[in-house]
Symmetry: C2
């Protein structure tokens, strides 16, 4: 109820004043369109039957039988939404809809439907089912856009954005030979889903070939819920840098080696993990730093570890900030090593650059939320998304809806039906603004 | 050379004044006996052929083929030393020699010959070969002791003192079913070595049934080498308390969960490991504390660990000190958990009480070293030894010789031939003092 009152206020103020130049033609008084929220949530529930976990959520790992089994259902929903369905060479599902002006570039929107093992039924699925619902609503409401539209369900997002990567870049032989969580290589997985790994060039989305890409997604963090907001206007997807960290000390007997004679790699690892937290939290901002994996060798209760291997991950919207945080962490590691004669080695294995969203699209998302009477805030995406790859070839926008408890990648992942409907409504209206721009 | 001069000085001063009452009958002027050091070191080299590692040292894990293959060689050495050889019900090798007074209790001396995987050729072997060499020297020098003597080679010390445990206590069915490193259960291992696991009571060494137990061993630490000393007079074997530590936090997405919203079990583990080091080094003494094993769950670069499992080990000669250090560690853990909403659980799985050696035997070891012109110091054993189990049934004494670089349980484990000979000479003379006491 509070929402509706708020909406009235916003509409009374008139949204035109805050809209960017390209949108003014829309007219402030145009009533926002809405999707069929009940149908959308029913589709989500039906999709969750594929790979359902006993304890809730889904295990629908890319290239698994559950993943494959869900695809005819998804394609049927697309056909019901009057989309022309095909599977591209990379194994992504595409549903096309003609626009009124064949000279305009298509607007692409969608998400993914694969999950992590023992994951939830919202990550990716909300954006995929939301995009199909938007297409069905357009069909039902007899709206023909100027731009051609493409609804996309990307394959294997959770394994490392493989569907978008294969659609936007040339995969190396090594990449095609990468073994995914399913046990299949990327090449085998693409073929398994009906793609054509030997002719990926046929599906290539080249720079400038699309008008824009939109993606609705659950936040996966707790910010929107904690701040009691409906919508997140994503300002960008953080850069993700990941390192393998090796700490070399000297393995020795835990009973006979005096404390001050030790070169204990475990103690250095502990001081390092503490330092990562201290450095990352020592300055304002939304940067995060995590040590998620650790292994001590030989790993026995009565032996001083001679070697520890762990990971380091730093994320931020600003690549320079990541670099400066890492430099500080590295300096701390050097000091820590000097304390007990251990050495640190860092080997970076992931270097995802930050992917800012289009400021114009951000404004359209915000305006759509306002018109729908929804509260919102601008925020980064701390998680990686298909949109970050697509951002290499066209302007992108992302819409977040709240995740209860900030829980994600777990069976307890949950977003409220009304929030999901809100998100699809924002997606629909953002799409219409983009089309009109 | 320096040693010899030192020996002369000590002998000139006369050792009687410092000997305990029972030893005075020996007479200060009695020249110390010596073993055949060249033969002893040749036996050690020959023994190291069984289970030899390509990179040096041995892998002669208890109940392995290499372990079994070495035993006929060991038993032949015992027979060469005029010992009456048998394998007891627990699989320990015993070599007996009659004394002149059948009413006296036997003096037991020896060590073990099993190794850790990729271990060294000195841990246990020096004491076992040293004991046999002492017996052979007695035979060659026509010395008949008053007490009967038993040279023992205990089975499976490295897997948890199983030979001494089976000889001094009743094994539970669960203990007999314990799977050792060889893959065999303790029951299977005992049978494999020619013991009789169904009649362990036949081999039981009851409290008071022995006059004393002596064990020569490498130090396994670097103290003697660093302080340029020949012999360690072991004042006791430290108590070893071991815990499994579980830290429960909350698993969450490493990209979307703000730093101050985290219940990061890894960060708490890091602070805990640092606290263990801080607490243990915060007071004087030779106590040691170690975290040797760690596992973070789910153990992925991009997930905040929801659970960490690690070990804690504290050793000291004083059980009360172990208890007080643990109480401090536990209090630190509580504080650390409160910092970020994680909880610590401690489950103790080892509680080896400290085993002090006999002060009288310590004095005999020291006196023997002095008479031989060797430098020495009194020191705890940070490592566990067969002697700690035998200490439950009779007075025990231990003699340490230096380990180069303090390295043990590794192929690089090394003790100098002269140091090994020195140790056997101290063992021989300590035995004679004990016999005369």
């Amino acid at each position: 109820m509070q929402r509706r009152e708020f909406a009235g206020t916003i509409l009374a103020l008139g949204a035109v004043a805050v809209l960017p130049r390209g949108l003014r033609g829309l007219g402030a008084a145009a009533a926002p369109r809405t999707v069929n929220g009940a149908r959308l949530n029913a589709h989500l529930a039906a999709l969750s039957e594929f790979g359902k976990n006993p304890q809730g959520g889904v295990s629908r790992v890319a290239y698994s039988d559950a993943d494959k089994a869900s695809r005819p259902y998804i394609m049927q929903l697309m056909r019901d939404a009057k989309l022309d369905v095909s599977v591209d060479a990379a194994g992504n599902i595409m549903g096309r809809r003609a626009g009124s002006d064949a000279s305009l570039k298509p607007i692409l929107f969608g998400s993914h439907t694969d999950s992590v093992p023992e994951g939830g039924m919202y990550d990716g699925d909300v954006g995929s089912m939301g995009a199909i619902e938007v297409a069905q609503s357009l069909a039902e409401q007899n709206i023909t856009t100027r731009h051609p539209l493409i609804v996309v369900v990307w394959q294997n997002e959770e394994g490392g954005l493989w569907g978008t990567h294969a659609a936007t870049a040339e995969l190396t032989p090594a990449e095609l030979a990468t073994v995914s969580r399913s046990g299949k290589t990327i090449r085998e997985g693409i073929a398994f889903l009906g793609g054509d790994p030997d002719h990926l060039e046929r599906t290539r989305l080249t720079k400038g070939s699309l008008a824009a890409y939109l993606e609705l997604h659950i936040e996966q963090g707790g910010t929107l819920e904690k701040e009691k907001l409906d919508i997140g206007v994503v300002e960008g997807i953080v850069g993700i840098h990941q390192w393998n960290v090796t700490i070399d000390g000297f393995q020795n007997h835990a009973g006979t080696t005096a404390m001050n004679d030790r070169h204990d790699a475990m103690l250095s690892a502990a001081r390092f993990i503490e330092a990562v937290n201290r450095v990352v939290t020592s300055e304002p901002g939304r940067q995060v730093g995590t040590v998620g994996r650790i292994n001590a060798l030989p790993g026995t209760v009565n032996v001083i570890p001679g070697k520890v291997e762990c990971t380091l991950e730093i994320r931020d919207l600003d690549a320079k900030k990541i670099d400066s945080l890492f430099a500080k962490v590295e300096a701390e590691a050097k000091k820590i090593g000097a304390m007990n004669g251990t050495t640190f080695t860092f080997a970076q294995f992931t270097n995802n650059i930050p992917a800012p969203t289009s400021p114009a699209i951000r404004a359209m998302v915000a305006a759509s939320a306002k018109e729908l009477g929804l509260t919102y805030k601008t925020m980064p995406s701390g998680a990686g998304h298909d949109a970050q790859d697509v951002a290499q070839i066209c302007p992108v926008g992302m819409i977040f809806v709240p995740s209860v408890g900030g829980i994600s990648h777990a069976p307890k992942e949950f977003s409220k039906p009304q929030d999901i409907t809100n998100g699809a409504n924002v997606l629909l209206n953002t799409l219409l603004k983009l089309d009109a721009a």
